[in-house]
Amino acid sequence: MDQPAPARPAATEAAVKVAARGLVKRFGATVAADRIDLDIHDGEFLTLLGASGCGKTTLMRMIAGFEHPDAGRIAIDGRDVTDLPPRARHLGMVFQQYSLFPHMTVEENVAFGLRAQGASDIAARVGAMLELVQLPHLRDRRPAQLSGGQQQRVALARALATRPSLLMLDEPLAALDLKLRRQLQSELKRIHRETGTTFLFVTHDQEEALHLSDRVAVMRGGRIEQLGDPQSVYLHPVNEFVADFIGDISFLDGIYDAHGGFELPGGARVEAPLSRPAGPVRLAVRPEQVVLTDEPTGLPALVAEVAPETGSTLLGLHLACGQKLQSRLLGLPPATLVPGQPVRVRLERCTLAFGAGA
């Protein structure tokens, strides 16, 4: 438990907790990690976000030590751990399936790591951890007697008990229903705040990633496509893939005139202050940038779909040029809005565009 204080680099920049350099991992013909560089800052909540098979889990398992990279190095707290087994890395991990020891009580589960690492203040530490996850009354239960949410909180307590350098969470909420997931999300945020531990979170759920993280790494094909805080990843995606992956978005192909004007096929014009040269371009439009309007200058469209969501409504629109657009309205849709109805829309502050697609 009482490890020597990690040797930290001169504190001019944010201290780096985990430094991964040039990580490569292949499974047969599949490249799960393609020269990945990643710095995880001390105390941050960093999320690896991507669809299944993007390499996010492999990256985490390499940091954990369950997979050995084919190439590249990993340092934790300035110490090269690439060739160390997981047990020597002083990390914590929470799995999607909870993976509590079924033959041990809650208390024994939480104490396991402390015993394995020869800690002295086991009882006090277990008590503190159960307080942290608000389950002190369940200490004598076995995992099978707990709900999914409770099991996951015990798993959290078990992983945090040894005060790990880094807590890794592998889709920990994916097995829970929506309401419980929301509840545990805010609990995760609280525990992150209270313990100050560095969190490495893996998920395929972009909403969860944006909600929880200090920084998000969007992954595809064994590479990190973009790394940044949730807002910048949402507002300034570096490419079409990231733009499409994070949040709802529509793409409109057209011609940019280099003077703030975007022309759709068929001649309709939209104002879009883009910082790029004239030519064919693919305009990226978030649903909240598409507003219904009565002005005659509005872009004509047909309502294709009215999909009520919680607190808002997502409209599917067809433009005259054949392209599709989504619009988000607050609240329930007006009763007059039905599929097939012609409407006019205004596009607000469209500053995001990519090269015209193939």
């Binding site: 890395r89 991990m93 993976s99 020891f101 033959h103 690492q117």
Partner: protein
């Protein structure tokens, strides 16, 4: 057959009808002879002739005599030793099978079970060729100069335990592998990342969770070894006191059927007791998980 095809018959009745031949077989080929054995075990005999009238003398002499007590203890000790060896050898083997890629697992299972395809008599004689005075092992040891005189590896306990272990190891491995396969690998990973070394992970996670398989395998091996006859006869020889061999001697050499049947029934009761014990142990092991 016509009855099975008639849809109007309730499923339950159809099932019983289909089971009837098997039930009849068990009744005629097992329960009836068993009942007759039980009757004989309470009879007297004289020069191979079974006399009328009942007596408890057979059981009294078996349960009261020092020699038969020794016989029981010896048999149980051998069976226990074989079980222990099977567990020690079987655990790594079963672990390897459980960890192997799924496409290799079928082949590994087959390799473990393959010896079961060979008759026990043949296998036990095979061990004679390896362990005998002029067998492979002794030739090698003498050629290497490690022993002058050939070691006595058959016709005694050593041969019996080695042979029994080889004969019954597959049962232990298959039973353990089933248990280990059901184990979530992430539990071991959890233990590892929490700082537990291989030894602690094995003792505090793998072993307790594989306990149902270990118990089932042990009971299987133990009870099969208790009743084993061919291997003790061939590899243990007449020097080794073994229950099944004693039953054979009583029945077919001494023609003392009452004694042989009484001994058989006592052995059967012992095996049933072991099964009952397994039920209790397994229930407790499973209760610990629920």
């Amino acid at each position: 057959m016509t009855a099975l095809r008639r849809a109007s018959l309730p499923d339950r009745a159809t099932l019983w009808l289909a089971l009837a031949p098997a039930c009849a077989l068990v009744l005629l080929a097992m329960l009836v002879p068993l009942a007759e054995m039980a009757v004989i075990s309470f009879r007297r005999e004289s020069f191979g002739q079974i006399l009328p009238g009942f007596t408890l003398a057979n059981y009294a002499s078996l349960l009261g005599g020092l020699a038969s007590l020794q016989l029981f203890l010896h048999t149980f000790a051998v069976a226990a030793a074989v079980t222990l060896l099977c567990a020690l050898l079987g655990f790594p083997l079963a672990t390897a099978i459980a960890r192997a890629p799924a496409r290799w697992r079928g082949l590994l299972y087959f390799m473990v079970a393959a010896p079961l395809l060979v008759n026990t008599v043949v296998r036990s004689y095979g061990w004679l060729l390896i362990l005998g005075r002029k067998g492979l092992l002794n030739s090698l040891l003498q050629a290497a100069g490690w022993t002058g005189e050939p070691l006595a590896l058959t016709g005694n306990l050593t041969g019996l335990v080695i042979g029994g272990t080889q004969v019954f190891l597959p049962f232990m491995v298959l039973s353990l592998a089933t248990s280990l396969l059901a184990l979530d690998r992430r539990l071991m990973e959890s233990a590892e990342i929490l700082g537990a070394g291989p030894a602690r992970t094995f003792v505090s996670v793998t072993l307790p969770l594989a306990l149902p398989g270990l118990i089932a395998g042990s009971v299987l091996v133990f009870s099969l070894m208790l009743g084993a006859f061919v291997t003790p006869l061939i590899l243990g020889g007449t020097a080794v006191k073994y229950l099944s061999v004693a039953v054979y001697t009583d029945a077919l050499v001494l023609f003392n059927l009452p004694r042989a049947t009484a001994l058989s029934l006592l052995l059967m009761i012992a095996v049933l007791a072991v099964y009952a014990l397994q039920k209790r142990l397994t229930r407790r092991a499973e209760a610990a998980l629920a």
